[in-house]
Structures are given as C-alpha cells and as structure tokens.
C-alpha cells in the first residue's frame, strides 16, 4: 500500500524520529512533574485511540505512535467490501488528526524492547525511550497453525482477516466465480479477532450470492460447536438465505485440519471439500512485538491487569486490544477503543503517582446479516478476581423474534457506530 520513494520515506522517518527524540524531557525528571513519554506501538483502533486520549487527558505528556502503514484499513465493515456493498476507500483512515493532536508519529516497525533501559528498538535502528509503553499490535496469523496454509497459500485461499489487499482478493474471487460455485469459510477455534466476524461474513457473502449468483452455495466449516450471536444468525439465515448457508460444527466434523491450495481442497476429519472459493480464517496470536517484548504467555496472547491494562508479565508495559487477554471482553474494535481510553487514563494517573480507579468497560458489537438487517451483542465489564468479568444482569444479544424494523434500526446504528469509532480513533 505504501510504495512511495524509499529514500524520501527513510528521510521522513529519521527526521520524525529525530524530532520526537529531541522533544522528550528527561523521563525521571518529567515523571516527577507529572509529564513523561509514552510510546504506543500499533496505530489501529486501540493504539490510535490510546495515543489521542493520552494527549487529550494530559497535553504535557510526550506521546509517540509507532505504526508501519500511513493508511489504516479498517476490519469492521470490511465484510461489506467483500460482498461488493462498500468501497475499500471507505475503510481507509489516515493519521493527520492524530498528529495534529500532538502525537509524534514514527513510521516503522518495532523490532525489540529493551525493558531494562526502557527503550523500544525500531526497524531503522533508532530507539525510543519510554516511561510507559503501550502495545496495541493486534493479531498475527499463526502460519504454523494449519497444515498446508502459508503466506503463499493465502494468495489462493485468502484469510481476509487483516483488511486490505486480502479483502479485495476475496472480493475478486467471488466476483469471478461462476454461478453455482461452492464457497467455503473455515472458521477457527477461540480465541481469535472478532468472534462474530466469520458469521457476518457468511451472511454478507450469502447476500451477494443470492443477489448475483443464486445457484451457488456457502459452507461454513467450523472448529467450534457454538459461536457469537448464533441464535440470531441462524434465525436470520432461515429467513433470508434458506438452503444457501450450511454450517458444519466441530462435533459434525467441521474442523478444517489441512488445506491444499493447489486443488482448492479443505480437509476435515470426515471429508474433503473441493470448493470454488475458500476463505480460510486461520488461528491467530498477539502481534509479533508482544512476544518480543516478553508480554505474551504460552497461549500467544497477553495477560493484563484489568484496572490498568499493564502486563502481568512485564512492568511498565501495557497491552490493549486484540492482543490482550481481556477476560470476558471479546477481541473487537469497540473493546480495543474502550480499553484504550481506560488504559490512557490509568497511565496518566500512574505517571502522576496516583492510583487509578477500578474501571467499568462496555462492548457493543454489531453484525450485518444483510445491508438492512443488523444484530448486536453487548457487555458491561468490571475488574473482579484479577480479570475483566461480565457485570451480572447486563449485556447479551438482540432479542430473538424482533420485528424487521428493529433489525433495520440496528443496521443504521451499526453505521453510526462505525462513523463514531473511526472518528474517535483517527479524527
């Protein structure tokens, strides 16, 4: 995506790094006055929201955001792009507003964290000293997680689980498929980014097939026996896409155990499925910097303190968003944004030598089953027993058997949410 002149880019990177470095006050001294330097790695919903909130809450704080892409491509609503309902340009967000807020942007990748000296080592060899470090690296695909699947295989069998070229590839494959073709989605075991995502995707692909290629079929091969908003999805599928979507759960041999991109085959315990289009959503882990920084545990994800989002494995490093083990909170953009704001507030309090209050967080996730048919799941969370836990009696899914006007309203709210959350993160 970013193919601008590499020399110019290097120059900009070092210039920005230099500017950022020289602007920092001495951390120890700064901390005593309630200032300090916070480095945020990863400019997605979590990282961008956190960097902006830090500057909003404490303008004297120096905040640097490290991000490798100058344009962010949003995963939320990217299923509508796959189904031809939305332009990829509507998913693109820049960092102008983040910079305008006084956040120093460093274009590049973090390659190591020197915890002893509180320094982040960047891919261009420069280093950033931090008082507190926030990791918001999102997810990485576990390329070793599914036999036959690889970066090369993803060019034939896109995962489209990181929005961008993969999203467009899956869209092109669907557009090129003959009417009557079989589409497969391989859904992973928990945990993974966006729990209802595979089923929203199945719904919107079914909408595309029903509209443009009505003799086609869609099969969801699942490594689970249950999924988010399941009853709502199934209720809607029965009405909107009867005989078009087939969901095969784990207990009925749904788990894909290997793939062969050459023959477009997905292999389960009981069968081989040769398909026209295969969307393979593979197992995931926290973004690479999490393990490099020593904050990921053996699960590949990052345990955190539920009040501050500070890693329970490493001091002065916080983890937010999809990479974190956030208890009952799902890996969603809404959750990442909510965590970012709580984490930013906690960091401001901690740098000022105060104890942050126990937080209360919310998640609301909308899924579109059709362009005018929205459903949601919500939760309210508090810190209990060292975990983020559901507040009893709150949250849950949209009502079953609701009138169509209710679904239409939730589809409109989904749009409203997207506008708000992207404005919060990127301005």
């Amino acid at each position: 995506m970013e193919t601008d002149d590499p020399n110019r880019r290097r120059f900009l990177e070092s210039a920005l790094a230099g500017a950022a470095m020289s602007a920092f006050p001495l951390p120890a001294l700064a901390q005593a006055r309630g200032h300090g330097h916070v480095v945020v790695i990863g400019g997605g919903f979590g990282g961008a929201s956190c960097a902006r909130t830090l500057k909003r809450l404490e303008p004297r704080l120096a905040v640097t955001l490290v991000e490798s892409n100058r344009i962010f491509t949003s995963c939320p609503f990217s299923n509508a792009v796959i189904a031809g309902l939305r332009d990829i340009a509507d998913q693109h967000f820049g960092y102008r507003a983040v910079a305008k807020q006084g956040v120093a942007l460093h274009w590049g990748t973090a390659s190591a964290v020197d915890r002893q000296n509180h320094r982040v080592v960047l891919s261009d060899g420069s280093t950033l000293r931090y008082d507190r470090l926030v990791l918001a690296p999102g997810v990485d695909i576990r390329w070793d997680g599914l036999p036959g699947y690889s970066e090369e295989a993803a060019l034939r069998m896109p995962h489209a689980w990181k929005a961008g070229e993969q999203t467009l590839l899956l869209r092109r494959q669907l557009a090129a498929m003959d009417d009557g073709g079989l589409v497969a989605i391989a859904a992973p075991a928990n945990p993974y980014r966006c729990p209802p995502g595979p089923y929203e995707r199945a719904s919107l692909i079914a909408y595309y097939l029903k509209t443009h290629k009505p003799r086609s079929k869609l099969i969801v091969l699942d490594a689970k026996d249950a999924f988010s908003k399941q009853r709502l999805f199934e209720e809607a599928w029965k009405v909107l896409y009867p005989d078009l979507i087939e969901w095969v759960p784990l207990s009925q041999g749904g788990q894909v155990i290997s793939v062969d991109p050459a023959t477009m085959t997905l292999v389960t315990d009981f069968a081989s499925h040769q398909v026209a289009v295969a969307n393979v959503i593979p197992p995931q882990r926290a973004g690479a910097i999490a393990s490099l920084a020593g904050v990921a545990d053996r699960s590949g994800w990052c345990p955190i303190d539920p009040t501050t989002f500070e890693s329970t494995l490493q001091k002065d490093i916080h983890v937010i968003g999809d990479a974190a083990i956030a208890g009952a909170m799902p890996k969603s953009a809404f959750a990442a944004n909510a965590q970012a704001k709580v984490c930013a507030a906690a960091i401001v309090e901690m740098l000022a030598g105060r104890q942050p209050d126990d937080p209360r967080l919310i998640n609301t996730c909308y899924s579109l089953v059709a362009p005018d048919y929205g459903i949601s799941i919500a939760g309210v969370y508090h810190a209990a027993g060292g975990q983020l836990t559901d507040v009893t009696g709150a949250g849950g899914i949209s009502p079953l058997d609701a009138p169509r006007s209710f679904r239409e309203q939730e589809a409109r709210y989904a749009e409203g949410w997207f506008k708000t959350i992207t404005t919060e993160a990127f301005g």
Binding site: F334, V391, S398, T420, T423
Partner: protein, 98 residues
C-alpha cells in the same frame, strides 16, 4: 434545573479523592463514562452526550434499565450500572463541552 445539576456536580467533586481539589487538570471520568463515546459521538443516528442536561441522561439510563423506555441495546448496557454510577456518568457528561 441547572442549579440542581450544579449542586449535584459540586457534590460529586467534593466526594472525590482528597487530592482532586488541588489539581489543575480535568478530573478523570467516572467508571464507564469513557466507553459511551464509542457509539455516542460523530454518528448522526446515535445522540451525542456532552453538554446534555445530566438529569436527562440519568433519567434515560434509569428508564432503559427498568425497561420503561424501549431500546435496541441501551437496555442491555444500562443494566450494568448502579444508580450512583449512572448519576456520576450523567453529571460528568453534563460538564463536557459539546
């Protein structure tokens, strides 16, 4: 009404941590308040909260919580907050500039 709200806000300020009175920066938002702006912000279909009269926010949340006011999702969310938490969130949003 405005007077009542101001009294409520002042009351909440005084109940805060001891150091709160001496600090110059804005008070941190009460638990839960920062999450609201994930939906209530730029989107036109969902109302904004900053600058609303606190009693309006508090009444709406209470009515969502009890089911008196129909909702798509706010009924599920409001149930996660106590009366005191609702009052604190409402007072805080009332103090924010729209």
């Amino acid at each position: 009404m405005r007077l009542v709200n101001s009294v409520l806000v002042v009351g909440l300020l005084l109940c805060g941590p001891a150091q709160a009175a001496s600090r110059k920066e804005p008070l941190p938002s009460p638990p839960g308040a920062s999450a609201c702006s994930g939906c209530h912000g730029a989107g036109r279909s969902i109302p904004q909260l900053p600058g609303k009269i606190p009693v309006e926010i508090a009444t709406a949340l209470q009515d969502f919580k009890t089911g008196k006011r129909p909702a798509t999702v706010m009924d599920r969310i409001a149930k996660g907050f106590s009366d005191d938490e609702i009052a604190a969130i409402a007072a805080w949003y009332g103090r924010q500039r729209p």
